[in-house]
Subunit: 465 residues, 2 copies
């Protein structure tokens, strides 16, 4: 796996690097085992690989100084947001220095007129939305976890609102990043559109820390809609639910959220939160717009649902009812873990063209049955993205083999349908071989870009490619 | 300017390259002076630099073979769409081979279910929309000219519909490109979203032929709205018109088009088309949606316009009236050239955050007055993008100096306001020094990327960076 001589294999230079970093950061550099362990894993089943030390910088300039020291000693640099990712992206598989961005958590600028803002990478999405509340604006990208904006940029995150508002790819106007040579680079202006040179902004979005450290982000914001209405609908069949989604999208209804939960997923959230949704496939939906437009959208979808065996619409119009609904959905990952205490989640993440979605989900459902293993399905189905989310005990080799083989079949099925192995979680450690299978002609170019921007391979080595 | 030994400086190897290309392409390789001249310029004031030869490939594989031959002889490769760009991007300043994509004009796949399609690079946007008409779908990006889709990808084009539907950045799902070594690379699947590796798709969008030849494009399509309404409104003052735009955007009205024409621009289109709009600043607008939503949007904007000195709304509800309206806007470039027969257009293209738009346009208007030179203003003002479009006689040194100095002041004004030197035309030949001024820390990275993907600098050398 190792392509570089990291300092971990060379204790003398590691010690020198730590000394220099200590004198730069004082108590904001930690080598304690607890801190290192905490930073060596995310929320997935991937094994913990603690870094050699963890730095807590407070400014772009400090990140640049840190990276320069690491570059000098060829110490791996692993940026860290909240540790809520799912592909092992923060595991320090080559040792090195973790850069925890949590002290860079300032919202530095909000422009209500331009509907944009600039934040440091450690700001979390809930922190930002709490801050924005009085401006009438909000930041829509919502991956469920209260992730940091920097982390969301790094993994090209999306989530429940992407069907209407897009992913981090559409949400970011400009970035300030520190590259492997310690340069501080601003990738773009904050003009809404530009044709000025190569799109470095998009190159760093989804680069998972392998091309540089994302320090500051300028984000597009959206007007909080005049009217928000949420609804839940149970279906006789999974196919009925998926077909409702497909027709909703094809009719051009600007739905804000349309989430699928199969009957297994419903059971999981009922158990966790003491809810009592019937044990059938459900759609959780949200409509944004003016009063008239929201109502028009909802009526259209209600009719479509009725044609596909939808069992009535249950409305959640009050804020507290909507929050309850989305908490149920957002708690899903924790709820499924609670079914098997001590287990870890192996979140699959395929995304297919919507014309193949029903076929892909139904074949997958049959495959799940054939394994005899319980695996709930949830999905941001308006985008064609769904997660089969088994919980596993990684040390149980037999169970892991069964789930790995299922996952392999799932990804091949999605690729054959013109889809991707990952809609929103990223490649990290876990999907490198699938990236190669998905985009065989593109990976050599990605490697050339990586080599150009990080010739010594110090930026999160061993991830993505 | 030259960074490479191009074959033009080495006639022996040029002759060999032409011989090999001839035997590959037969009559689809031209070295006639007329064909070379036609391919040596776009629609701007930039000087004609004819290529040494022009190739007309018919497949990705043929493009790959052509590029391999050029790579072997270090012959510059310049992709060509329709020649309707405005920054000299196709000028063969180092000689070399122009690859004209006009024979690759097949629409290879349309999926109504997925609302996407795949086209060869030579397909034009009108050809695509004519083809799509029966499907109920359309491709929204509309730069005015009937540009090729490949060219629109290369320049990250946008135009009148971008305020609602986004630019080419948002419109493209995946690309097939031929890189400088003749490899055929597919950058992504056609899944709606993906977190699989670096965003090569966005890297090639806006790369202006300097990183590879764009051969095939998978595009997102949109549902033709149930209701389309256009409207025209004259204003007492330019500021009133701009303030109406700003408030429309800030209120979150999903307007499809909102175009500014100052009184000079109105005069130009009146003269050209025998229209009789009053000689005051105007907004040309279009609303898309359901009947109810279109009406709601239009009423909101009509109220805003009235508050800012708008002189009534004139509706264009019938298709022919709408077409007439947008033809007037789209003919603007030709109309302004008609005012000075034999002149060329020097299209400026700044884009600023919308909070600074009124200030930027009004300062620019005052600057125009101070020059004593007639320069109309038109703009995709919903995005903060506007064009001051003087016509020039490039051989008139005094006139060119006056316009160049004005352009320099305009760009610096936009940059100081957080804007960009180019919203949609690209860098090409004309704005290289401004790119450096706009993104000084980013240009070294762009150069590193260029070197990584095109080490011998054969792909459209001398452009962008």
């Amino acid at each position: 796996m190792s392509q570089i001589d990291t300092a971990v294999e060379n204790p003398a230079s590691l010690a020198k690097a730590i000394t220099e970093l200590s004198s730069l950061l004082a108590e904001r550099l930690s080598t304690s085992a607890a801190v290192r362990d905490h930073h060596g894993h995310d929320e997935s089943f991937h094994k913990t690989y603690p870094p050699d030390a963890v730095a807590f910088p407070q400014s772009n300039e400090e990140v640049a100084e840190i990276v320069k020291i690491c570059a000098r000693y060829r110490l791996a640099v692993i940026p860290f947001g909240t540790g809520t990712a799912l592909e092992g992206g923060v595991s320090a598989i080559h040792g090195g220095l973790c850069i925890d961005m949590s002290l860079m958590a300032e919202i530095t600028r909000v422009s209500a007129e331009d509907m944009d803002c600039t934040v440091q990478a450690g700001v979390t999405r809930r922190q930002l939305n709490d801050y924005l509340r009085d401006t009438g604006l909000f930041f829509p990208v919502d991956p469920g976890a209260n992730a940091s904006i920097g982390g969301m940029v790094a993994t090209r995150a999306s989530g429940t609102n992407a069907v209407r508002y897009g992913t981090m790819r559409e949400a970011v106007l400009s970035l300030t990043v520190v590259t492997s040579d310690g340069a501080i680079v601003t990738t773009s202006t904050r003009a809404r559109k530009s044709a000025a040179g190569y799109d470095l902004t998009r190159l760093f979005i989804g680069s998972e820390g392998t091309l540089g450290v994302i320090c500051e982000i300028t984000l597009r914001l959206h007007t909080i809609p005049e009217s928000i209405a949420a609804a839940v609908c149970g279906f006789k069949t999974l196919k009925g639910a998926v077909d409702t989604v497909i027709e909703t999208i094809q009719m051009g209804v600007p739905i804000a959220r349309i989430e699928l939960l199969d009957e297994q997923a419903i059971k999981v959230i009922n158990d966790y939160n003491d809810y009592d949704y019937p044990h059938v496939p459900h759609l959780f939906m949200e409509f944004h717009g003016s009063q008239a437009s929201t109502q028009e959208q909802a009526e259209t979808v209600q009719e479509l649902a009725a044609e596909h065996g939808g069992n009535g619409f249950s409305w959640a119009l009050r804020t507290e009812d909507r929050n309850k609904l989305w908490r149920a959905r957002h708690d899903f990952a924790y709820a499924t873990l609670a079914q098997r205490p001590g287990s870890k989640i192996l979140a699959t993440d395929v995304c297919v063209p919507i014309s193949r979605l029903a076929e892909c989900i139904l074949e997958t459902k049959a495959d799940i049955s054939s394994t005899g293993f319980s695996m709930p399905i949830v999905g941001h189905v308006g985008d064609g993205n769904f997660h089969v989310a088994p919980t596993v005990f990684p040390e149980d080799k037999q169970e892991m083999a069964l789930v790995d083989e299922f996952h392999d079949r799932l990804i091949l099925r999605a690729l054959e349908m013109g889809g991707t192995c990952t809609g929103e979680h990223g490649i990290g450690l876990g999907k490198k071989q699938y990236l190669l299978r998905e985009l065989p002609s593109a990976v050599p170019l990605m490697k050339a870009l990586k080599k150009a921007l990080d010739p010594d391979n110090i930026m999160n080595p061993g991830k993505v490619i």
